[in-house]
């Protein structure tokens, strides 16, 4: 038994971890045990990848490529392959993952099970939209292959299904063509939510990737930075140097607090405002800014943190976001990583998938016990009234009441 946590570090319960490394033996391993859940890189915030006291099937050893058709961009691989390794393999050959979340340090299986979305949702939807086929192994020994036209009910249940339909062993993804690893980007500061929505609506037609960082503690005014990008052919230029920093230990208290947040937000906003404008960015810097800070989740201290993410319909969106920001500013809690984004008008493949048309706000909150949960209840009330949903996959304990 070993202690396993998810990314939010809210718990560290003992699990019986079985490492899967041979795709031909997976059904043998699963059939000999009770129920369990698959665990890849453990980047889920709440408890969706955990099974305290029970079995955990670690999939990171299932990391082989199975087939890559460089003509059509169809990639087949084992489910423990990291999105990072796919990008590094395919981008030099003119292909790229059509949808990628804010970190590339997740497995294909995890990306499917959470139906992750990225900054280009309004153009290319979520990860599940690009899965052509997957192979699922269940504890009764059954092996299920499914796709959009083959047992599609199984695909719909597995995409966004949080691993509850079985262990994904392999999948086929349709990649999209790309000229190179560069993006033409623009950073536009905004002073309030009106300006944000004007930027968001105005960017949809011409920009593939859009996202914004919002200052969650400046009193609900809603200032922030709008970032947008398009893949581009920037010719041959040297790739940025490979670097990373690791947070080597867990500080005794959360480093994210009222004071540090105010200071950070002020510094970040003004620094970025100064650098605002157009620039050519490398895909790693644009898509995965936090990946260079290994173990950044430790900065929230020993009690860990929650992620709160909700989506509200566009019509009620502005008022709802305003109300949520006011609640958050009042609480004094919040995170430096606060994301505001509009989703496109698309229906996801998965039955339990999160993205729906509207605007989404995502924040991390240091775990302050009931105080944090009460804040979430207030936020939930705002979201419910606006007709939206929260990302219960992130494991907030209050979510069960909201579904």
């Amino acid at each position: 038994m070993k202690q396993v946590s998810s990314w939010g570090r809210l718990s560290a319960d003992p699990h019986e971890v079985l490492a899967l490394s041979d795709r031909s033996r997976v059904s043998g391993v699963l059939a000999s045990h009770r129920s369990g859940i698959a665990y890849g890189m453990g980047r889920s915030y709440g408890d969706v990848c955990l099974n305290p006291g029970g079995v955990l099937w670690n999939t990171t050893g299932l990391d082989r490529f199975i087939d890559f058709d460089e003509g059509t961009g169809k990639l087949v691989c084992e489910a423990g392959v990291l999105l990072r390794d796919i990008q590094q393999l395919v981008i030099p050959r003119g292909w790229i993952l059509p949808v990628t979340p804010g970190t590339q340090l997740v497995t294909v299986g995890g990306a499917i099970a959470n139906d992750v979305h990225g900054k280009n949702h309004h153009v290319l939807g979520s990860f599940g939209d690009h899965v052509r086929w997957l192979k699922l192994v269940r504890t009764d020994g059954e092996i299920i292959e499914c796709g959009p036209l083959l047992r599609s009910d199984w695909l719909a249940a597995t995409v966004g299904g949080l691993g509850l339909t079985g262990v994904i062993v392999a999948a086929e993804i349709q990649l999209r063509p790309v000229a190179g690893p560069w993006l033409d980007t623009e950073t536009v500061p905004y002073a309030n939510l009106d300006e944000f929505f004007r930027l968001a609506d105005g960017s949809e037609a011409e920009w593939e990737h859009t996202v914004s960082w919002i200052d969650c503690i400046s009193g609900g005014g809603g200032r922030g930075l709008f970032m947008r990008g398009n893949p581009t052919d920037a010719g041959e230029r040297p790739a940025p140097r490979d670097w990373s920093l690791t947070m080597p230990f867990v500080p005794p208290v959360s480093l994210v607090n009222r004071l540090s947040l105010r200071l950070f937000n002020m510094a970040y906003f003004n620094f970025k405002k100064w650098w605002a404008g157009r620039a050519i960015a490398h895909y790693e810097a644009f898509f995965y800014p936090l990946d260079k800070l290994l173990q950044w989740n430790r900065i929230y201290g020993p009690r860990g943190f929650f992620q709160y993410q909700s989506v509200v319909p566009r019509e009620t969106g502005q008022d709802a976001v305003q109300a949520m920001l006011r609640e958050i500013a009042r609480s004094g809690d919040g995170s430096f990583l606060a994301v505001l984004k509009t989703f496109g008008n698309r229906q996801p493949v998965g039955m339990l998938s999160f993205p729906q048309p509207g605007v989404t706000l995502a924040l991390d909150f240091p775990n302050k016990g009931t105080r944090t949960l009460t804040l979430f209840e207030h936020l939930d009330a705002v979201v419910r009234e606006a007709g939206g949903a929260d990302l219960s996959g992130q494991g907030c304990p209050h979510a069960a009441r909201s579904i």
Binding site: K2, D22, R23, G61, R64, F65, I66, D67
Partner: protein, 248 residues
């Protein structure tokens, strides 16, 4: 590595070997993978070709089938049309307690982790000596630096291999052939799945990076991760009269 190399790997489905193979595949080299399990070898070979290997052939061998060693090695060299690098990476981690009670278990351990390696090296050494270029790399272990009560059967095998490699290195130096002894510390792989992992445990990807760099640099002995060189230096100087009282 700029020039394309022909690389033979014994124990190619093991975690460290597979990660080394991936780094070499990315550089476009040609590989010959030797192991016991056909299906797993195929899965690895297909993956390596996608990652950029010029070629990835497979050959079946149970290393304890000593009679077949020469033929398998020759087949590998023939298929690759030569050989620039051989990596011996197979091994098992037997049960020390079981070995203490049953000599058959000991014999099995010594055959797999020492004798079979020595047999392969005998054939490889002669071929490399004749062609007067190339590198032989073998994964030994820090366990071979000094016997300790928790794993001295495994340690004996690895120690024997390390000493054999010292002699081989000296002999082959005259022919311009490099011999690399790799001594990993604790590595998190399927072989060590039953151990509780702590701070000193390394990932096979990191070990593989060290190995490929060491081969390129023409190193003789490399501890990986590097801090094991210091740890073992200290362990080795402890006087036996004191060491025997320690619980290690």
């Amino acid at each position: 590595m700029e020039k394309q190399k022909r690389i033979v790997i014994v124990g190619a489905t093991s975690a460290i070997a597979e990660h080394c193979a991936r780094l070499w595949a990315k550089e476009g080299h040609s590989l010959y993978l030797i192991g016991r399990n056909e299906e797993r070898l195929q899965a690895v070979a297909v993956d390596l070709k996608i990652r950029g290997a010029e070629a990835a052939h497979t050959g079946l061998l149970d290393v304890n089938d000593f009679a077949r060693h020469e033929a398998v090695i020759d087949q590998a060299i023939k298929t690759l049309r030569g050989i620039d690098l051989a990596l011996i990476a197979h091994g098992t981690l037997g049960n020390q307690k079981a070995c203490e009670q049953d000599f058959n278990a000991v014999l099995q351990e010594l055959n797999t982790n020492a004798i079979s390696i020595i047999s392969l090296l005998t054939h490889l050494a002669n071929r490399f000596e004749a062609q007067r270029h190339g590198t032989i790399a073998v994964i030994s272990s820090v366990a071979g630096d000094r016997g300790r009560q928790s794993n001295y059967v495994y340690g004996t095998a690895k120690g024997a291999v390390s000493i054999f490699l010292q002699g081989l290195r000296q002999r082959l130096h005259k022919s311009g052939v490099h011999v690399l002894t790799v001594k990993p510390g604790f590595v998190d792989t399927p072989m060590t799945k039953d151990f509780k992992k702590g701070m000193l445990w390394a990932r096979p990807e990191a070990i593989a990076r060290r190995i490929t760099k060491a081969v390129e640099a023409g190193r003789e002995v490399v501890y990986t991760p590097g801090y094991w060189a210091l740890i073992m230096k200290i362990i080795k100087v402890i006087p036996e009269s004191l060491f025997k009282r320690m619980v290690l």
